[in-house]
Symmetry: C3
């Protein structure tokens, strides 16, 4: 279902089931969690998530649903497996970017939202469809959706299940960057910056989104970075030129 | 002041005092609370709130204000009555949509914000005017405003009291859908979806907006809906065709 | 570094070091805190913050950084001094507006975010650059950034350090008003309103942004303003005409 290449500074994680528009089978979440851990152990400084064949992800694989209907324990395992994988992705210490082409539906939106940044290509199309199927959406993913688009647009997307295009996704905040931007340019801009800074800033954003306005550990990191080698090298750089 | 028709799947609640641009008298809030309860007891699956005669609501009726100046107990009753009605509307279990034409001012904005979704027609105009009158705005409604538009735009709207049009309201998040959209299309899209899903998703959004990232009851509902009849019927549907 | 004129209803606070594009030296934060206090003690009803010479603020002065590298105590003093000044500005009881022309970088963005409202001129350009220098950004300012633009755009700005123009700043919520607006028109609209209302509404927004949905003190103020002189004068005004 997934392919991971983390031989360079960029861990490239690809949903690779294009015949199913990269719909994720129930068993796929555990595979995803393992690959996210592998990327975290590698020397990659950034994770780029994308889909093969012009689709990002059509959501959870519907062919698993009849089995979930009949088996209560399987339903709980499904929810917990999806959660574990998405949380692992959100907690990765390096920056994560979802590069989205074509369909990004249902659990595919949850996957994109688990990244720090979402880049929507011109072909991207988003829909959150549980109400169409008579099911729900995990509380953590609704929370993240409300963080990104606010409670009004969250209601619109969740209640109607209707699709929106890349431009609309950028307008309401479901995507951060739209058709004019290239993933590789964004990646290069981030890689040019100091890894220590990126890790501390990512932690700061996560704490802030959780409502934390101050944090002694962040203060200590702030002071330490001002005394550290990354700043020293950057202050030296212009003199060397 | 209000008219309610809940004979169909859509409870239509109309502000019907067009000569006063649907300004709400102090006594109107209790009437509103009662009608919201009536809609909640009906078999309606969605509530659509609108104003008669090309206005949504010009706000609280100013002709009541001199009496409020003289009577401290009446002021407290006024605040509590308004709060009770708006909270009842926010807590309704079915989706609620404000369809906004013409003036939507002061307490009219609080009324629109108490709905899940706001649809602004081309004629819609919004202003939050307490500072113009030397009064304040209820904390709960400022909180909702900040949820929808952020603290910067909230400061702009509340400090200036100036009006904005439909396009600007959509841009900053005070309205969710603008002139290109029709209320009836939005209503139809929502009614096509499963009622069980809508109720659970509405609860999820409210919890998320209150900062809840996880909730055992939502987990239980998630698992239950995957085992439920609404999904079964939807999985059957394509085979029947 | 700063100039303050609070002889009129508008306290005009100007960053006045145009040769350095108004970059703030380490010692500047204490000066700023003192001037904010002075504005608070004056009879000014609004504070307007701007930069001399076509720049808002290029950030913290880099020439101080080598000294911070060598002196741990100085780093802590630097962080605490910046924090004290920015918090004092945020806590000022009167409305505060940042009028932004030209560069607004790094700590300059934190300064602009410490105001209630941000007005971006056509020449305004924003960038948050700590990751370029291998340092971090204070937790409080990351929190404010997430309040204004959400966690996705915060990640984009902080991780890349790239600049955005006025139009983009307005689009994502980093600025509230863009090139079409004039600071003096905004100031006049706010000054036309009741000072008692503005103070109470500013307090309401701050509480709401901190997650407070209700507050007994705000209820008491709401009731009191309905019985107060500002409303009385405004209800009288039309009759006098």
């Amino acid at each position: 279902m997934f392919r991971l290449d983390c031989q360079s500074e960029v861990a490239r994680l690809v949903l690779d089931r294009p015949a199913a528009r990269n719909a994720i089978p129930a068993a796929g979440w555990q595979e995803l969690a393992g690959l996210v851990d592998e990327a975290g152990r590698s020397s990659a400084r950034l994770l780029l998530l994308s889909g093969a064949g012009g689709s990002f992800c059509a959501g959870a694989d519907l062919t698993d649903f009849p089995a979930l209907q009949r088996d209560e324990a399987a339903r709980t395992r499904f929810r917990e497996g999806m959660r574990a994988a998405l949380d692992r992705l959100r907690e990765l210490a390096i920056p994560t970017i979802a590069s989205i082409e074509g369909p990004c539906y249902g659990a595919g939106v949850a996957l994109a939202m688990a990244c720090d940044l979402r880049l929507a290509a011109a072909s991207a199309r988003f829909a959150i469809t549980p109400a169409k199927f008579g099911i729900s959406y995990p509380q953590q993913d609704v929370h993240r959706l409300v963080e990104l688009v606010g409670p009004g647009q969250a209601a619109r997307l969740l209640f109607t299940g209707l699709g929106i295009d890349a431009e609309e996704a950028v307008r309401i905040g479901l995507a951060d960057l739209g058709p004019g931007e290239e993933a590789e340019g964004l990646v290069a801009a981030i890689l040019a910056n100091a890894a220590e800074s990126l890790a501390t800033l990512k932690r700061a954003i996560r704490l802030a989104a959780a409502g934390k306005r101050s944090d002694p550990e962040q203060d200590a990191r702030f002071d330490a970075l001002f005394g550290g080698g990354a700043l020293a090298r950057r202050l030296e750089a212009p003199r060397r030129k």
